[in-house]
């Protein structure tokens, strides 16, 4: 087990570390900088969908509904913590009330 953890540590840490050692000094052309600036938003999109459909095991519609609710709230509420708690609460309620 110690060797597995050591191996997993190396392959997760090294890819995180290398850019911090080298990417900072690089003088990148403007289009690459624009590319990197858009990267977080593209990542957000791909992190949300389609993964959200399997966020609540066996309940894709409940998960999607909680996501839409979170999006609706985000139009009015700036506090991200509130939205996270709300989504979790809604899913817990529906799971425990046995609503299909």
């Amino acid at each position: 087990m110690i060797w597995l953890l050591a191996g997993m540590f190396m392959v997760t840490y090294i890819p995180r570390l290398i850019p911090f050692l080298f990417a900072r000094q690089l003088d990148l052309p403007p289009w690459v900088r624009k590319w990197l600036n858009l990267f977080p938003y593209a990542a957000l999109g791909a992190l949300i969908f389609p993964g959200i459909l399997t966020a609540v095991p066996g309940r894709p519609i409940l998960a999607a509904g909680a996501g839409i609710l979170a999006a609706g709230c985000a139009l009015f509420v700036r506090n991200i913590t509130v939205i996270v708690v709300l989504a979790i609460t809604v899913v817990l309620l529906f799971q425990n009330l046995g609503i299909p």
């Binding site: 911090f20 858009l38 999109g45």
Partner: protein, 222 residues
């Protein structure tokens, strides 16, 4: 700290689920918590316990971890250019780059950059929640019904959505790039059923943000 709170709340139930599944796969509480402390990569950890449970060799698990987690290389590349920090400290900070700390830090970063202290407090809060949850899940694996904590994983999706919505409203380019990237990731997984989710995310994110450079510049107010 305040930026780390929603991540911590999102991590807790996921980490508890991980602790429970880890115990069910035959790991001890120390091994479950140790994996969270030393690997600190949610999706890879879930995959690892699944592979341990089905008797897959360590080398294959490490290889699968590398593939699934390689996206952090790209995320670190973006963050390294935004966080102002000297080399030896950057080596420590980079350990805490996750999907969640990356998106929160980069969406909240001002054009002039992000303070190292701000990233540190946020990332530490998230990390401690991940450790605590793994320990609690491992400790009380027999008492907590996994079906309930499992569904609480929705919290992290709510976090991503809550981050995206205000930016997407402000700049249509961000809305377009995010939607196109989501569709692209979905399409790739449909077309290539064997593709790992890690690669689908990398391919969709890289290609769609590259295409996005053709869009008009985002006007940033300074």
């Amino acid at each position: 700290m305040s930026n780390g709170l929603p991540i911590a709340l999102g991590y807790l139930p996921v980490a508890i689920t991980f602790g429970i599944l880890g115990r069910q796969a035959g790991l001890s509480v120390a091994e479950v918590t140790g994996m969270s402390a030393w690997v600190y990569a949610g999706a890879s950890q879930f995959l690892a316990v699944k592979m341990i449970a089905s008797g897959v060799g360590y080398f294959q698990i490490v290889l699968a971890t590398l593939i699934l987690n390689f996206r952090h290389f790209l995320m670190s590349t973006v963050l390294a250019r935004k966080i102002e920090v000297p080399g030896h400290r950057a080596a420590a900070l980079s350990y805490w780059v996750t999907d969640e700390t990356f998106v929160v830090a980069s969406v909240h970063a001002r054009p002039e950059g992000l303070s190292a202290l701000g990233f540190f407090t946020m990332a530490l809060t998230a990390y401690l929640a991940w450790l605590t949850g793994s320990f609690v899940g491992g400790m009380f694996a027999d008492l907590i019904p996994v079906g309930i904590v499992d569904g609480m994983g929705i919290g992290l999706y709510a976090l991503f959505i809550a981050l995206l919505v205000p930016s997407a409203r402000k700049h249509w380019q961000f809305a377009l790039v995010a939607s196109a990237s989501a569709l692209c990731a979905w399409g790739l997984l449909q077309l290539l059923p064997g593709l790992s989710e890690g690669w689908a995310l990398i391919a969709a994110t890289l290609s769609v943000s590259a295409l996005g450079t053709l869009l008009p510049d985002v006007e940033t107010r300074s």
